[in-house]
């Protein structure tokens, strides 16, 4: 019997059955087929426990949502205390918590960003950013990267992979031209007509497996935006909040974007909220018609409290330095593993603790994911490039846990290698 107070299940099997029956049959089955029979139960710090009680170290973090660990005590305490006074709030009125968070976000942000609008998830924030760019430039086209991922809301999905837009007949290729990543010529081609409202860029495209921008690429894209009068939107949903060793990854490129989007980790995984930071120029609609974007839950005040605490933690100098330590240990540890499997584990893409591990097989990351899962680590393959495993250590790891992750990873990579090699031989 699994009793959770508000509900209970007789067994994990019963739960899986109901998940298919009432929730999402395809997704539920997908994981069973992938050898990952995970139903997350207890969670704490960088640990997850399956319903059966098996412990996993979380190196997926839901794209950085659990950057500070699960149920970070400081964030939980802040939100719990705030519940004595606040609720979601009323989105029509000047709001205590929204204003406080907006000020804190602007203080943390690259120069030139001055105003904040709120959503309740990353996709909504992306939609706000795209609407904002269209309003500012009075142009419609949004250029994004092939295999970009910005969420599944109305506009965001259009800027992403066709797999998701075509499913719902939401693809609008004429409004959402896409260019290959790291291809400046293609980018210039797309912008040359001066009919583009904005280029939207994940600072490191996450769902595409964290291919790294070539040195100078993002800087050149920003220059092209300026030349052809398009806004530069930095999607920092996965690269913000100290994950690259700076608060916002884009600042490592010296870029002051016109718009910056944050979500996921911003509220410590405790209360959903997302935010769009805009330059004064981009923020025109906030002066013209402040009711232009509305969302009852957008910027929920409890989320603002969670975000204020999260931002404070991420901004501590000790935390920044720790990310540098963690990044260094992880990268040198992974390099050691790579030396043992040179033609299986072929590369590491890394910027801070944003990491993608490359494997020499079209579905390589799925094998590694499965073996990591069996070895007690949860990390996910890249949906849009399954050769790459997303490897996202938390920013508050202790040295001991970081070493443990590396030990387990070494074993799992070895087992995945043996499985793939074995199967390969059988097929041939």
């Amino acid at each position: 019997m699994h009793d959770y107070g508000a509900f209970s299940y007789a067994s994990k099997d019963e739960m899986i059955g109901k998940s298919k029956e009432f929730w999402n049959p395809d997704k539920t089955q997908f994981w069973q087929d992938s050898g990952v029979d995970l139903v997350i139960d207890r969670r704490e710090g960088y640990y997850l426990w399956d319903m059966h009680g098996r412990r996993l170290i979380d190196v997926h973090l839901n794209g950085g949502t659990y950057n500070l660990g699960h149920r970070n005590p400081e964030v939980v305490a802040a939100v719990t205390a705030a519940m004595g006074h606040f609720d979601i709030g009323n989105h029509h009125f000047p709001s205590l918590a929204r204003t406080a968070l907006a000020e804190a976000l602007i203080k943390s942000a690259p120069a030139g960003l001055t105003k904040v609008a709120y959503g309740s998830g990353g996709g909504e924030a992306i939609d706000i950013a795209l609407k904002t760019a269209r309003h500012t430039t009075q142009k419609r086209k949004i250029v994004s990267i092939v295999k970009a991922y910005h969420g599944h809301t109305g506009l965001a999905v259009g800027a992403g992979d066709q797999r998701f837009s075509e499913l719902f007949l939401s693809d609008r290729p004429e409004e959402f031209p896409q260019v290959p990543f790291n291809d400046l010529d293609a980018m210039e081609q797309a912008l040359r007509g001066r009919d583009v409202a904005a280029v939207i860029m994940e600072t490191i495209p996450a769902t595409y497996g964290f291919p790294l921008p070539e040195p100078g690429y993002l800087e050149a894209v920003k220059a092209l935006c300026e030349r052809y009068d398009a806004l530069y939107i930095a999607d920092e949903v996965q690269t913000g909040l100290m994950r690259t060793g700076e608060m916002w990854g884009i600042t490592k490129h010296g870029i002051s974007p016109d718009i910056l989007v944050t979500g996921k980790g911003i509220s410590g995984g405790i209360y959903p909220i997302s935010a769009v930071l805009m330059s004064e120029r981009a923020a025109g609609w906030l002066r013209e018609d402040g009711f232009g974007h509305m969302s009852t839950f957008g910027g929920a005040e409890l989320g603002c409290i969670a975000a204020l605490k999260t931002l404070e933690i991420c901004g501590r100098p000790e935390v920044r330095t720790m990310v540098h330590y963690i990044s260094d240990l992880m990268q040198s540890g992974l390099a050691d593993i790579q030396r043992d499997y040179p033609d299986w584990f072929t590369g590491v893409r890394a910027n801070g603790v944003v990491m993608g591990l490359e494997f020499n097989h079209p579905q390589g990351a799925k094998y590694v994911m499965k073996h990591l899962y069996e070895t007690g680590v949860w990390a996910i393959f890249s949906t849009l490039d399954p050769t790459v495993l997303q490897f996202k250590p938390g920013i508050l790891l202790t040295p001991a846990l970081a070493e443990e992750i590396l030990d387990r990873t070494e074993v799992a990579i070895g087992k995945a290698c043996a499985e793939v090699r074995g199967r390969g031989r059988r097929v041939r």
């Binding site: 719990t80 790294l212 060793g245 260094d328 890394a350």
Partner: protein, 526 residues
């Protein structure tokens, strides 16, 4: 799983302080792999930077706490920076030691994260001291200063941290708590990331260090008897005792508390002490002083580290402005006699005894009140008396023919120079000697089969440590830009430290050298 209420109760500042311990863990992990040359380079750079600011922080500490004497704090600050470095530069606590004949190899293993609690009376000197000890042994240190001295200590710690990192130390190797509080200190002491607590301060803090569940080095309070017997060089004894009591207005825990003098030489000694600047109170003066200093049953902390003339004035006793020590006679060393307790001010109780043997009994009585395991002084030329004194007074250091402030703290004797005086088992401490670097290291011992047929190969030249190859940790540049970039873009560079001020490194070094030669040569051994 932590109970929700437990973490809701964490007072402000505690979670961040815990993160400092975690950063310290990372720093200690990196530092533990440094080689000896790198360690010496870092320790020397920090000692230089600290010595160059000795006066700056001496003034600041006096201003902030109201305790002590700037000139004397300068001496202590220099002794605890440059002096400590010079004392231990040749003590290798980094390189593995090979004992071929016993087939043992010892590999040093630093404690890890040292939580250093520093007192209000010797604030910056103790910050300097514990930081130097940590650096010499490749430990990270988190300093929690006494709240009365938090500003000067925090600033001094940051200055040392900047100097350490500039010399190649791992980032986070020296950290300081800005807003110390009782719940915060308790949280740090009980946190499992703390490897060892080094507690200098009042009894409550030391006791809670020991009950924290973590390894701790804490020392008990002092209450120092000084015996002058008939064989002593009275002029020299008078001069040394008065200077010791005047030193930093007696805030060192090693300062003399009760003077015990043989009747036959008492008048001559006291007359000599008067010539050195002491004022001998009559019984009315002693009564007034007792009233003022212990009126409500315990030491009026207002007097701590204050000048003698100031204290006399407050007590309603007439004293000249040049008076540096107040001598307060009393008859019997018993707990209800306030003047027999620790005074942390330039007030010295005086008791006359008929013989050296009775003097030893009186000294035992002083230490029975407080100060077990701490220190005692004797001025005598008779080794038998000195031996009898040392054997029967339960203290762990007996300074002979020297002022005890600087004697038992090792500044004017060949004891280890220290700001932390171990009081041993008798003084409820795990440390029986003066705290020194070796107390912060364990050794992993490689032990070969003792059977002569099992031969231990040579370990000479096998050193598992290395110099850092750049900043630690390295700046996280994108992996595909590693050849292009090595450091953060200029806009993201941390603000330059205020470490060097306007002086260049050479100027600082020269300045330090001059100070050392002029003021410190007799304090600091080579």
């Amino acid at each position: 799983m932590p109970q929700p209420l437990e973490y809701l109760a964490e007072p402000a500042g505690v979670p961040r302080a815990r993160q400092m311990l975690q950063q310290a863990q990372w720093a200690a992990r990196a530092f533990a792999g440094y080689d000896r040359a790198s360690v010496l380079r870092i320790a020397e750079a920090v000692a230089d930077a600290a010595a160059a600011k000795a006066r700056h922080y001496a003034e600041w500490a006096v201003r902030e706490t109201g305790f002590g004497v700037v000139e004397h704090k300068v001496v202590k600050n220099e002794a605890c920076s440059r002096g400590i470095f010079q004392t231990y530069r040749d003590t290798d606590l980094v390189t593995p030691r090979v004992d071929a004949s016993r087939k043992l190899v010892s590999v040093p293993r630093p404690a890890g994260v040292v939580l250093a609690l520093t007192p209000s009376t010797n604030p910056v000197a103790t910050v300097y001291f514990k930081t130097m000890l940590a650096l010499l042994t490749r430990n990270a240190v988190v300093i929690s200063p006494h709240p009365m001295a938090k500003e000067c200590c925090a600033d001094a710690a940051r200055m040392m941290a900047a100097a350490a990192v500039a010399a190649g130390a791992p980032e986070g190797v020296i950290q300081v708590v800005d807003e110390p509080s009782v719940p915060l200190i308790n949280a740090l002491m009980t946190d499992e990331r703390t490897s060892v607590i080094v507690a200098t301060g009042g009894t409550p803090v030391v006791r809670s260090a020991y009950s924290s569940g973590n390894p701790a080095i804490g020392v008990g309070p002092g209450n120092v008897p000084v015996l002058v017997d008939a064989s002593a060089d009275l002029a020299a004894a008078a001069k040394r005792i008065v200077a010791s009591k005047a030193f930093d207005n007696s805030v060192l825990c090693t300062n003399e508390s009760v003077l015990i003098v043989e009747e036959s030489v008492a008048d001559r000694l006291l007359a000599a002490m008067k010539r050195e600047g002491a004022l001998l109170l009559d019984s009315d003066g002693a009564r007034r002083l007792r009233e003022y200093m212990f009126g409500n049953g315990h030491l009026n902390t207002e007097v701590v580290g204050k000048p003698a003339a100031w204290i006399a004035d407050r007590a309603g006793v007439r004293a000249g402005a040049k008076t540096t020590v107040l001598l307060a006679p009393f008859d019997l060393v018993v707990p209800e006699e306030p003047l027999a307790h620790e005074k942390l001010s330039p007030v010295l109780g005086v008791v006359r005894v008929p013989s050296a043997a009775r003097g030893i009994d009186a000294a035992r009585a002083v230490v029975r009140i407080a100060g077990a395991g701490h220190s005692a002084a004797i001025h005598s030329s008779d080794p038998a008396t000195i031996m009898a004194y040392a054997a029967s007074v339960p203290v762990l250091r007996v300074s002979v023919n020297v002022g005890n402030s600087t004697g038992s703290s090792g500044l004017e004797t060949n004891l280890a120079p220290t700001m932390t005086v171990g009081t041993g088992f008798v003084g409820r401490s795990s440390l029986g000697a003066n705290l020194e670097p070796k107390n912060l290291v364990n050794w992993t011992q490689i032990a070969y089969n003792a059977d002569p047929r099992e031969v231990m190969p040579s370990f000479t030249g096998i050193v598992p440590w290395a110099a850092p190859r750049g900043p630690v940790p390295p700046y996280p540049v994108a992996s595909n830009a590693a050849g292009v970039l090595k450091a953060p873009p200029a806009t993201l560079q941390p603000a330059a430290s205020d470490l060097a001020g306007t002086a260049t490194a050479d100027e600082l070094r020269e300045h330090v050298r001059r100070l050392i030669v002029e003021e410190l040569s007799h304090f600091v051994k080579n």
